[in-house]
């Protein structure tokens, strides 16, 4: 018992006894509902015993168990009992509140009670799923139910809050996910800020040649979308822009963005490229990022042929004007539109939006991290993205698949799962590599007549038309060898010929195969700065570093932060159609939010009891949401309920106990603790 000490050692007012009514309040009548969750709970927890024990607790009028409390009849049970038995408190022992708190609050409200006269007990994740011993798991479930029953006595009627929602939406990332989401929202009549870190939108998809399994030309289907973005009256496109800070809350985010200087005025430049021709560098000298380093460009350049905006930029790290200040500035001379400004500076801007869609994408696995494949050592070992550029008609070789020495390859090996499905690098399956590897096999075969070997562990081709494509590539005579390449060895005198050792697991033998080109099907992984971005936007990452969805099945595009949605590969590997579908879903969620016009917020906020507060200011710097102000005139702290997220930091810190938090009042917490500890 916590308060046996008696005098001076506990709250001296407001301490109520279990089940007893307080000054004229009606007697407490609690209904306890224990869910079987099919066999999820019932297999390990003796729900009948939990129900029986719950029925014996003070204040409990009725205790029932039911197979699926979340089902309609389950909810109906609660509603009817409230009406017929006059219940005024509801406890449901089932799964995680994350999943069904809303459901049961709804049922409580449907019965005519304030929905906050409800308490949920998680006997699935906290008992049945994590224990094996039935007896002990049942005891634990009983303890948890007792805690909730004791707590719910002290619940109060609370009201949810409504806040208006700003109609603008921010889309972060201009790949196919961001583009699709932005267009859907803009077509829905909402204003969209689309921001992109790079100089052009288009993302990874713009680098691809053909898309699987239909072999559509990626540029042909993407470029029109990019242009639409550029021309849409409802879209403000900002390239070379990054988010530095996000303040506010759902419906009212204040986003600080940083525009990096391009040294070109976007509104003046028409992309005529005369400046590039005029540059003092006669030839390209720096690796072209868009061509995955396979071609060279000048310090002033157009990001790529289809770039949107069709505007050049200057790399200050490479341009002589920036390093020496003594360039002849031939580019400036050549520009008819006087669009070049060497003195452009970084610019900060604040955007007010109601919702945010994250579409920050992925990066490919760095093949150097699998050193046995010799990437970066042997010139004819390529990543798949490099080969995408090689097969692309607008790529560095004009679509010719040639080796570094200009020769056509005669034998090409494609290694699946590079960096993926490996405990030492990325344990997950990157989902798209099997299909893109088959696509590359097809394209290489089509363009070179080379022998093509696909080395795979499992061929994963679930998707519409995918299996048929696999069949087609197999019928073209590509060698499909089930086994992972163990080592690559460039012979001493073999003209760059590579020997790969692989177990052909279907044949049960190791094969040593000479190839002159080796393509590494690098997997997808979270961007290097995903953790930093996650913090900025206050969302969560799953253990593997991808942004985490609110629920893997029922809320796959939501995050745990209201008003922030996920689209595309920032949430996990996906192919293009899936990305576009998810972008549409994210846009839909944002539209639904904005369309509602207001947001209902949980009432679990904290308040300062003004007459108790002594104005000691301890709480003020602690609030992570800057929700607490000091009222100088009254010398009191004051909490802005709209900003408060109910984290409880101020409540814990207040040295005189003058801040209380709805749903987490001291009496509620103490009763819960005593309930758990009162082992019976």
């Amino acid at each position: 018992m916590l308060r046996e000490n008696g005098f001076g050692s506990g709250p001296t007012s407001g301490g109520k006894t279990n089940g007893a009514p307080v000054n004229g309040d009606p007697p407490i009548r609690i209904g306890v509902y224990v869910c079987h969750c099919g066999t999820n709970i019932a297999r390990t927890v003796d729900v009948e015993r939990v129900t029986e024990k719950a029925g014996e607790l003070p204040g409990v009028t009725i205790a029932r168990d039911y197979k699926y409390m979340c089902s309609d009849p389950g909810q109906e049970l609660i509603k009817e009992d409230i009406e017929e038995l006059g219940l005024n408190r509801i406890v449901v022992a089932s799964c995680s509140p994350n999943l069904h708190e809303g459901t049961f609050r709804g049922a409580t409200a449907a019965g005519g009670l304030n929905p906050f006269f409800f308490q949920m007990v998680n006997i699935r994740e906290h008992a049945s799923w994590v224990h094996e011993d039935r007896e002990s798991a049942t005891d634990k479930a009983i303890d948890l139910v007792r805690a909730a029953v004791r707590r719910v006595h002290h619940h109060k009627a609370l009201e949810t809050r409504r806040v208006p929602i700003k109609p603008e939406v921010l889309v972060v990332g201009g790949g196919i996910a961001g583009i699709s989401a932005a267009l859907t929202l803009a077509d829905g009549g909402k204003h969209v800020y689309l921001i992109e870190r790079e100089a052009s939108i288009g993302g990874h998809m713009a680098q691809f040649d053909k898309t699987f399994p239909t072999l559509d030309c990626a540029a042909c289907i993407l470029t029109p979308k990019m242009t639409q973005v550029r021309n849409h009256p409802n879209i403000t496109l900002m390239t070379m822009t990054e988010v530095v800070k996000v303040d506010g809350f759902v419906g009212s985010y204040e986003v600080t963005v940083k525009h990096r200087p391009r040294f070109i005025d976007v509104s003046l430049c028409v992309g005529c490229q005369q400046c590039i021709d005029a540059c003092v560098y006669k030839r390209g000298k720096f690796e072209d990022e868009f061509d995955a380093g396979l071609s060279m460009r000048k310090p002033i350049y157009l990001p790529n042929a289809q770039a949107v905006p069709q505007v050049v930029l200057i790399d200050p790290e490479q341009c002589i004007q920036f390093s020496s200040g003594k360039c002849k500035q031939t580019c400036v001379e050549a520009c008819d539109r006087d669009a070049i400004f060497f003195d452009q500076e970084e610019r900060i801007e604040t955007l007010d939006v109601g919702a945010i869609i994250m579409a920050t994408g992925f990066q490919t696995f760095d093949a150097r991290r699998s050193p046995h494949y010799g990437y970066g050592i042997y010139p004819n070992v390529y990543t798949a993205l490099e080969v995408e550029r090689l097969v692309n008609a607008s790529g560095p070789t004009g679509g010719e698949i040639v080796l570094r020495d200009g020769e056509k390859p005669t034998a090409v090996g494609i290694v699946h799962c590079v960096g993926s499905r490996n405990q030492k690098s990325n344990p997950w399956c990157s989902k798209v590599c099997c299909m893109y590897s088959l696509k590359l096999a097809h394209l290489i075969k089509e363009k070179t007549d080379a022998e093509v070997y696909n080395f795979y562990i499992d061929m994963r081709t679930p998707g519409k038309g995918f299996e048929e494509f696999y069949q087609r590539v197999a019928s073209e005579g590509t060698h499909l060898i089930r086994g992972k390449v163990a080592s690559v060895y460039q012979q001493a005198d073999g003209d760059g010929e590579l020997l790969v050792d692989v177990e052909d697991t279907l044949a049960g033998m190791v094969r040593r195969i000479p190839v002159d080109m080796l393509v590494l099907a690098v997997g997808l992984e979270p961007r290097y700065d995903a953790e930093e971005v996650r913090r900025t936007f206050n969302i969560t990452c799953s253990g593997d570093g991808w942004f985490m969805e609110r629920h893997p099945k029922l809320a796959p595009v939501d995050t745990f932060t209201d008003g922030v949605y996920l689209a595309g590969c920032c949430q996990g590997p996906k192919d293009i159609p899936e990305t576009v579908a998810q972008a549409g879903a994210a846009a839909g969620q944002a539209l639904a939010l904005i369309g509602r016009g207001y947001m209902e917020l949980e009432p679990n906020t904290a308040q300062v009891i003004a007459e108790d507060c002594s104005g000691c200011k301890t709480c003020i710097p602690l609030c992570p949401y800057q929700a607490i102000l000091h009222d100088d005139a009254e010398n009191r702290a004051e909490i802005n309920e709209v900003l408060c997220k109910g984290c409880g930091v101020c409540v814990a810190a207040c040295p005189s106990g003058s801040i209380v938090q709805n749903l987490f009042e001291d009496t509620e917490i103490y009763e819960e603790i005593e309930g758990v500890l009162a082992y019976a």
Binding site: G6, S9, P11, T12, S614, P655
Partner: protein, 325 residues
């Protein structure tokens, strides 16, 4: 409650304490005359010669109020507390020792043997070559002598008998005593369990309150003898560990006005379960420093955490002592 004939009877008693509480009553100065005039004192060992038998002879409930100061450490104190409980309509825990266990309660960090060793054998001023320790019974010059039993654990009054109200402080501030007595005599009694003092923190009464910055971040705790203390500025802002924000008001921030940090003698407000824990949580939230080393060095400035945060309330706190064999 029944009002007896004549002036209401009042008793004072003194358990394990320093005597400061008795002084506090005297400190009422001329105010004491009002009190004395209004009541009939039936016991006050420090000032008047009444015996235990006198009280025993009184009918139960015949005393209106007993003011008991000091913690309960011996069997005699427990007996007297129980006796006064029986004879009184109201029992008031008077002062920090009685309310929360007080300074004597810090002995709960040790056991009886440890206390005996320190007090009778090892303290530098002790001369006790035979190693004599207190005994319940002894024989001296043909007489049988007895001493009260000495408990292993010091308890607050409320942990021994039922207590109605408390007057906080070490010692209680005259203003608080006067207000409390006035309340009791008014006949309009507050709910049982009330601490008869303002339910806000000391900061409320502190003249330096406004000088506390909004974004205080403490990088070093200093002890009062180590620094010249500015007389105007918030003591926490000067790096002195002041428990004012976590301590009940009523004292007019007397210590702070004397340029010393609040040490927490009035205990917590009614809303706080454990004074020390709450104070730690409040003070800890002010500590600056990002890395473990910096935080360690800030905390090194608090050499005696229990003596700092539980100076007056160890027995009444949630902290439990080790099980004694």
């Amino acid at each position: 409650m029944t009002k007896p004939e004549g002036k209401p009877k009042v008793a004072f008693y003194w358990c394990a304490s320093c005597g400061g509480c008795e002084e506090a009553v005297v400190d009422l100065a001329e105010g004491i005359l009002d009190v004395v005039g209004a009541v009939d004192i039936v016991m006050w060992p420090v000032a008047l010669d009444f015996k235990r038998a006198d009280i025993e002879a009184m009918p139960d409930g015949s005393i209106l109020a007993s003011f008991i100061n000091g913690a309960i450490r011996t069997t005699e104190q427990e007996e007297m507390a129980s006796l006064l409980r029986r004879k009184s309509q109201l029992v008031i825990a008077f002062g920090a020792c009685s309310q929360l266990g007080g300074i004597p309660g810090l002995a709960n960090l040790y056991d009886r043997e440890g206390v005996y060793r320190a007090a009778y054998l090892e303290s530098p001023s002790t001369e006790n070559p035979e190693g004599t320790l207190p005994r319940l019974r002894s024989r001296e010059n043909g007489y049988d002598l007895s001493l009260p039993g000495f408990y292993d654990t010091v308890r607050a009054l409320g942990q021994v008998i039922d207590v109605d109200y408390a007057i906080p402080g070490c010692a209680p501030h005259p203003k608080v005593i006067q207000a409390a007595v006035a309340t009791l005599l008014s006949g309009e009694l507050p709910p049982k369990g009330t601490v008869l003092a303002p339910d806000q923190a000391v900061c409320e009464e502190c003249p330096r309150r406004e000088s506390k910055p909004l974004d205080l971040s403490i990088s070093e705790f200093k002890r009062p003898h180590e620094v010249i203390i500015d007389e105007e500025t918030c003591l926490l802002a000067q790096g002195l560990l002041c428990l004012g924000p976590a301590t009940r008001a009523g004292c007019d921030a007397a210590c702070v006005c004397g340029n010393m940090p609040c040490s927490g003698c009035s205990g917590p407000t009614s809303r706080v379960l454990d004074h020390g824990a709450k104070a730690i949580s409040g003070i800890a939230s002010l500590i600056g420093g990002d890395d473990e080393e910096a935080i360690d060095s800030v905390l090194d400035g608090i050499p005696d955490p229990v003596g700092t945060f539980y100076r007056y309330g160890l027995p009444a706190s949630l902290l439990r002592r080790k099980t004694l064999s």
